[in-house]
Each structure stands twice: as structure tokens, then as C-alpha cells.
């Protein structure tokens, strides 16, 4: 009897500890960094953010790299690096992320950026299991930092310490975390775990109890609340405190992800108090549920066990028969599922769902082939390791799509280039440089003639040359009048002649005075016109030179781009092959993971089946000796 109880209690303790450990890594799921408000000062930086927020991390990374390399994000140079590092991290590129953060730190970034980079680096190292390095990175973060960063740093440090098994230090760290923060439930959960693991059960219970009673506003928090109650329930079962354990199990939602474990625990709380009748209620409820986890399978054995304890041998026998049928049925289904995966049919639906957009490439449980029932692989598929594999596969498929698109682009670019070359060759005769040069020479000669004329006018004070068009006409008319007067002087009435001569002299004088008093502005206007002419000639010369250069450079440019396109096409082709190989390798790895999961489950169910058959035989033996069972 003592041995039996010891075994059960040990199993309960292990269960409780297992529940406490599982959630440690989830605290940083909501990252503080993503919540930082960004004021966009360069459109190209905003463009990258738009892609990232739209679910296209790959495109966002490319745009950040291009923006940085082409100097298009001068106002966000530091932001770009820290974003780039973070995006690399979220795209599963730990090495690149680490290189960016190290560079940031080396280049002496501003204190806030430096600290954020250290924190991100600590995260990378934590994820890679390099806990010592992660702690060194956290120790580089300054004391005087913004509140949000401080919180994230403390959480990260606590995670590292817990991963190293230093629960006492982790608890001390988490005890300093500010209260009433949005992360409080996660902090309290981990704090409860850390306290339990450092043998401070009373304090640990307090924190887990607080989580178990918290007002959870979203599904993630409700699940956390259920998990805390389940953990406490099993801890109390291990401590033989069955009534309190029961109370915790009763807090768990009947339809939540932890309800199966709660119902099983609830049954055990009563069973340990010898109340098998009450234990039957949750176990019977559990046994009607989909066989999706160990707790439901367990119930198929727990129900007949309770009947047996109640001496209801007939019902017990029937329940064992039901269990044997269910286990046998599931074993057949598992065999079929394993065969299906081995035939490479795991990917059929996924491959049908492929889209060219990164954010549209998804893989859900519904995408599994019907032979591989999701209830068999739910735990594996929702696990971190498999999710990372799915991400890798998703990314590889996107890379493949991107390369195919680029291969098409290369054909388009080459076509455009060929078209331009053709157009160039057609237009080349019209761009004959000798014609242009000759025309330019004529224009320059003409300009020099104007300049010489200007200098003569200036030197000789040639008023007539400075006259405007209207004045030129007036001068011509006056000259005609002078000629008439000279030729007809003797034929004219002397008085009329004198009067006309007087008028002629008056108008000539006036005109001469008009021009003579405005020589300087008239000469200035000519000089200005010549200067403008010089400018136009200079521009025309430059354009002529540009045209000449373009004419000479075009064939080299066509050749240069042509070589580039050929080089890139070759590179694309080589990458396509390697990416396809990696896709195949990734698929094989995941297939092996799924098969491994199915085989483990098959072994487990086979063990259940043996157990049920053994129990049925035991009941039959009992019937034979006591006459209680037929």
C-alpha cells in the first residue's frame, strides 16, 4: 500500500512540475519592441514598415537593406539597423541578426539603441541556448533605461535564469518587476513557477493562485489562468490535499484547452478520497470527448477502474470492451496515417494553398490529409520546434516563388534591353555627331561676329547702330527729307525751305539727343543679349557632349547590363536548385517528425490496449473465482 501511494504521488509531482515548466518560454511572446511608436521621417523607411506590418517580412528586409545602401533613410539610420536585426530574428536568421546587433554596438550607437540591441542579442543567444552569453549581453544594458525596456530586460533575464535552473535568482528578479503592468499575469505565473522550483511553495502558490483568479481579457490570458489552476491542482494532489486540489480543478473552464486535464484531475481528487461514484462523473464526461490527448485516453481506463472499485463489474467489463475497441480502432487509424505520411501525402493540400504572397502562405491543421487526423499530431504541430519547421518551409517556398518571379523578370529585363538597343541603332544615324558639331561651329562664328560689331559700335559711338527699329525708321525718313531738301532747294519757296530745314534740324537733334543720352543702357542690353547667347551656346555644347557620351556609352551600357542579367540568371538558377533541395530536406525532416509522433502514440495506445486487455482478463478471473462477472 505504501509503495503504491509513493508511486502515485511521485507521478503527480512530476506532472505538476511538468506543467510548471512548459510555459516558461511564453512570457516574451508579446514583445515590448513591437509596441514602440515610430514616427516616419523617410518614406522608404515607412515603406519597409508597411511591408512588415502587412506580413511581408522578406520584402521589408530587402527594402531596409536597399534604403540603407542607397542613402534613402538618412533620418532612420539607427532605426534601420535595429529593425533589420529584429526582422532577421523574426525571419529565423539568427546569425544575421547577431551580426547586425554586434555592428550596432561596435559603431557606438546611441544609449537607447545600444541597450535595445543588447537586449535583442540576449534574446538571440537565449534562443540558441547560449545562456552565459545571454547573461553577458543583459549585463551590458545600462541601469538608467526607459521603463518598457527595463521590464523586457528583467523578463529576459528571468527566462535565462530559469532555463539555467537558477529559480531562486529568477524569482528575485521577477519580484522586482513593476506591479499592474500588462505583463503582470505572465510575470506572476513565471514567478510562481520559480518560487515552486526553489522550494518556496507557499509563496509560489500565492502567485499562481493570483493568476488562477485573474480577470483574463483574452484567450491567451484565459489559457494561462487555466494552466495555473491545473498546475496548482496537481501540486495539491501530490501533497495529498485532495479537497483543495479539487477546488482548483473546478476553476478551469469546461471548454478550454486544459479542460481534459482538469476533468481527469477532478476525478482523481475524488478517487483519492475513495469517492469513486463522484470520480465517475468527470471521467465519464471526459471519455465521451474526442480522443485528442492523453487525458481522454486515460479516462477510457479510469472509468472501468472506478466501476471496478464500486464493484459494478458488468459496467466495468463493458467499459473495458469500449476502451479495447477504441484503442484498436485508433491503432488501425494510426497505421493508415503513418503509411500516408510515408507516401509523401502530407503536403498535398499545403502545396495547393501556395500563394505568391508571403503572408498568404500558411499551413493549418485543416491542411492535413484526411488520413492523418489532427487529433493525433495536434501537440506536435502546435509545438515550438514543429512551428519553426513550418516557418522554415513557408520561408523556403516563398524564396522559391521569389526566385521564379525574378527569373521571369530577367527575361523581361533582357527584352527591354534588346528593345532599347534596337531603338538606339535605328536612331543612331539621326544623331550623327559631325552634323551637330558643324552647326555648333556656325553658331559660335555668328556669336563672334555680334561681339565684334558690339565692340565697333562702342568704340565709334555709332548712334545709328544703337537705334531701335522704330528709331531706324525715323532716321531713314529724316535722311529722305534731307535728300529732298538738298535736291530741291532752288526750286522751293525760300521761306518754306527755311521752315522745313528748321523742322528737319529740330527732329534730327531730338532723335540724336534721345539716342545719345541712352547709349549706356543700349550697350548694356546688347551685352546682356550676348551673355544669354553665350549661356545657350554653353548649354547646347554640354547637351552635345552628353549626347556624344551617351552615343559612345550606350553599347557599353547594353553590354554591361546584358552581362549583369546573364550573371543574375545563372545565380537564380543555381539558387532555385538549392532552395528546392532544402525544401525537400525540410519536408523529409517534418515527415520524420510526424511519423515519430504517430509511432510514439501508436506505442502508447498499444500499451493502453495491453493494459485494458489485462484488466479485462483480471475481471474475468475475478468472475471465475467469485462469480461476479460473466
Amino acid at each position: 500500500m505504501m509503495g503504491k501511494q509513493f508511486s502515485i504521488i511521485n507521478a503527480i509531482r512530476l506532472t505538476a512540475l511538468c506543467l510548471l515548466v512548459v510555459s516558461c518560454g511564453s512570457v516574451l511572446a508579446k514583445d515590448y519592441f513591437d509596441q514602440k511608436e515610430i514616427v516616419v521621417k523617410d518614406p522608404f523607411f515607412g515603406d519597409a514598415l508597411y511591408d512588415y506590418y502587412s506580413g511581408n517580412t522578406f520584402e521589408a528586409i530587402i527594402k531596409l537593406i536597399v534604403g540603407k545602401d542607397l542613402g534613402r533613410v538618412p533620418n532612420h539610420m539607427e532605426d534601420v539597423d535595429i529593425w533589420l536585426g529584429s526582422l532577421y530574428l523574426s525571419y529565423g536568421m539568427h546569425y544575421e541578426a547577431e551580426a547586425v546587433f554586434k555592428r550596432l554596438i561596435k559603431e557606438g550607437a546611441s544609449p537607447e539603441i545600444r541597450d535595445r540591441a543588447w537586449l535583442q542579442l540576449a534574446k538571440v543567444r537565449y534562443q540558441k541556448g547560449l545562456y552565459e552569453d545571454a547573461i553577458r549581453a543583459i549585463e551590458e544594458i545600462q541601469e538608467d533605461i526607459p521603463k518598457d525596456l527595463k521590464g523586457a530586460t528583467q523578463l529576459q533575464m528571468a527566462n535565462v535564469l530559469m532555463a539555467r535552473g537558477e529559480y531562486q535568482q529568477a524569482a528575485d528578479m521577477l519580484l522586482k518587476f513593476p506591479k499592474n503592468d500588462q505583463f503582470t499575469p505572465y510575470v506572476n505565473y513565471n514567478l510562481g513557477v520559480a518560487l515552486f522550483r526553489s522550494d518556496r511553495q507557499i509563496e509560489g502558490t500565492e502567485y499562481l493562485d493570483a493568476v488562477g483568479l485573474s480577470r483574463a481579457e483574452d484567450e491567451e490570458l484565459r489559457a494561462l489562468r487555466d494552466k495555473a489552476n491545473i498546475a496548482l491542482g496537481y501540486v495539491l494532489l501530490a501533497n495529498d490535499d485532495y479537497p483543495r486540489a479539487k477546488a482548483y480543478f473546478q476553476r478551469v473552464r469546461i471548454s478550454g484547452p486544459f479542460s481534459n486535464k482538469a476533468l481527469l484531475g477532478l476525478g482523481w481528487s475524488d478517487a483519492f478520497q475513495q469517492d469513486y461514484r463522484r470520480a465517475l462523473a468527470p471521467w465519464l464526461e471526459l471519455s465521451t470527448r474526442t480522443l485528442s490527448d492523453a487525458a481522454v485516453y486515460e479516462s477510457l481506463l479510469a472509468v472501468p477502474y472506478a466501476y471496478e472499485r464500486l464493484k459494478a463489474y458488468q459496467q466495468s467489463m463493458q467499459a473495458y470492451e469500449t476502451a479495447i475497441n477504441s484503442f484498436s480502432d485508433d491503432l488501425n487509424r494510426l497505421n493508415l496515417a503513418i503509411e500516408t505520411v510515408k507516401k509523401g501525402k502530407l503536403w498535398e493540400q499545403l502545396l495547393n494553398n501556395i500563394s505568391t504572397r508571403e503572408s498568404k502562405i500558411t499551413w493549418e491543421l485543416e491542411d492535413l490529409p484526411p488520413e492523418v487526423e489532427s487529433r493525433f499530431v495536434y501537440t506536435l504541430v502546435s509545438g515550438n520546434s514543429f512551428q519553426q519547421s513550418i516557418d522554415s518551409l513557408r520561408h523556403l517556398i516563398y524564396l522559391n516563388n521569389s526566385l521564379s518571379k525574378q527569373a521571369d523578370n530577367m527575361d523581361t529585363f533582357q527584352y527591354i534591353l534588346d528593345l532599347r538597343e534596337e531603338t538606339y541603332k535605328e536612331r543612331l544615324p539621326k544623331l550623327a555627331p559631325e552634323k551637330g558639331d558643324h552647326r555648333m561651329a556656325l553658331l559660335k562664328d555668328e556669336r563672334n561676329l555680334y561681339m565684334e560689331e558690339y565692340r565697333r559700335i562702342e568704340r565709334e559711338g555709332d548712334l545709328k547702330a544703337l537705334a531701335t527699329g522704330k528709331e531706324q525708321l525715323q532716321i531713314e525718313r529724316l535722311e529722305k527729307i534731307q535728300d529732298i531738301l538738298r535736291r530741291h532747294r532752288h526750286e522751293m519757296d525760300p521761306k518754306r525751305y527755311r521752315e522745313t530745314l528748321e523742322k528737319y534740324r529740330l527732329y534730327s537733334g531730338l532723335l540724336e539727343w534721345e539716342i545719345g543720352t541712352s547709349i549706356a543702357p543700349r550697350l548694356w542690353r546688347i551685352r546682356k543679349a550676348i551673355r544669354e547667347l553665350d549661356k545657350e551656346l554653353e548649354l547646347a555644347t554640354r547637351q552635345q557632349q552628353v549626347l556624344q557620351r551617351a552615343r559612345l556609352g550606350a553599347p557599353r551600357s547594353f553590354e554591361g547590363y546584358g552581362k549583369k542579367i546573364a550573371g543574375y540568371s545563372k545565380k537564380i538558377q543555381s539558387l532555385q536548385g538549392r532552395v528546392q533541395d532544402a525544401i525537400d530536406e525540410q519536408k523529409q525532416l517534418m515527415e520524420r517528425q510526424v511519423i515519430g509522433e504517430l509511432e510514439t502514440l501508436r506505442q502508447r495506445i498499444a500499451s493502453y490496449l495491453d493494459q485494458a486487455k489485462f484488466a479485462r482478463a483480471h475481471l474475468l478471473d475475478l468472475g471465475a473465482t467469485q462469480g461476479g462477472v460473466n
Binding site: 514598415l49 501537440t379 523556403l396 545565380k571
Partner: protein, 174 residues
């Protein structure tokens, strides 16, 4: 009997919580390989991004139109139509995720194209539910001088609190 059943029960429950296939050495090697491939494809895409711009949208003719939103209490963007010199060059329908990306500070590169030097007119027509959820259609135009350098224009949708109306602002980025 009880001992056997119950101990199996807890043993299985315990592993039922977190049993799974842990990443082995092959997974690690493959992860390294995938990371290397991602880096190479990214470098290639970076080069091709620049090549595409050089070939298709040279600086002398390039015009890029960006779109951003602010707050969005009085207007939710459903679609935008863009005309350059009275010719439709872009018609864009937004998904919920894209609208959220804009509201989080993202700036969409709505259109990039080639335009000759001189005076040009850009017209943008925005559609979507406006104040009080009624269908809203608003246009805005912008005349600009295309010179020899690249021209970047931003269309910004903001909330005008005083009038309880959205406002559509166009500006050039330096």
C-alpha cells in the same frame, strides 16, 4: 491493478503535456543551411531591386507616389485610384491587414512610374466609409514640376477634428 493504472495515468499525462520530437542535429544543420540560403536570396533580391529601378525607372523620369494615413477615425480607406495627367495609372483595393499596416505608421509605395519633364498633374480618388459610416468618395489633385531628379510625392489621409471630417493632403518629399 490500481497502482499500475494510476501510475501509467500520471506518467502519460505528464508526457502528454509536452511530448514532442526535439530538434536533432540534422534539424540544426538544415536550419544553418536555410539561413545561408535566405541570406543569399536576400542579397540577390537587393541587387535585382536596384537593377530594376535603374532599368525601368531611371532617376531622370522616375516619380514615386506614397500613401500614409493618420488615426483614421473619420475615414477607413477601401480603395484609391491614381491618375497622372488624366490617365489612370493605379487602382488599389486594400485588405484589412494593409489598412492596419497603414494605421500603424507604414507608408505604402502606391505607384512608381516614368514621367517626362515639365508640369504634371496628379489626381487621387479615395473611397471608403466616411463619417457616420456613409460611403465616402473624395478626390484631391496636385500639380508639380518634374525636373531631372526623382520626384517623391506623399498622399496623406488625416483626421480633421474640428470639422469631424477626413483631410487629404499631398506633399513632396525633399
Amino acid at each position: 491493478m490500481k497502482k499500475f493504472i494510476v501510475s501509467i495515468s500520471f506518467f502519460l499525462l505528464m508526457f502528454g503535456v509536452g511530448y514532442g520530437y526535439s530538434a536533432d542535429d540534422q534539424a540544426k544543420t538544415l536550419d544553418d543551411k536555410v539561413q545561408g540560403l535566405k541570406k543569399e536570396v536576400m542579397e540577390l533580391n537587393r541587387d535585382l531591386f536596384i537593377l530594376e529601378e535603374e532599368l525601368l525607372f531611371p532617376t531622370s523620369t522616375q516619380v514615386a507616389v506614397f500613401l500614409s494615413t493618420d488615426v483614421g477615425n473619420f475615414f477607413r480607406l477601401d480603395s484609391v485610384e491614381l491618375k497622372m495627367d488624366d490617365k489612370v495609372v493605379q487602382n488599389y483595393l486594400y485588405t484589412q491587414q494593409e489598412v492596419e499596416a497603414l494605421s500603424r505608421g507604414g507608408v505604402q509605395k502606391l505607384w512608381v512610374g516614368n514621367v517626362k519633364k515639365g508640369k504634371r498633374e496628379l489626381v487621387a480618388i479615395f473611397r471608403g466609409p466616411g463619417p457616420n459610416g456613409r460611403e465616402y468618395k473624395r478626390g484631391t489633385s496636385f500639380v508639380f514640376e518634374k525636373g531631372s531628379g526623382t520626384k517623391y510625392i506623399e498622399l496623406k489621409i488625416t483626421d480633421k477634428s474640428q470639422k469631424l471630417q477626413p483631410e487629404f493632403v499631398v506633399r513632396e518629399w525633399e
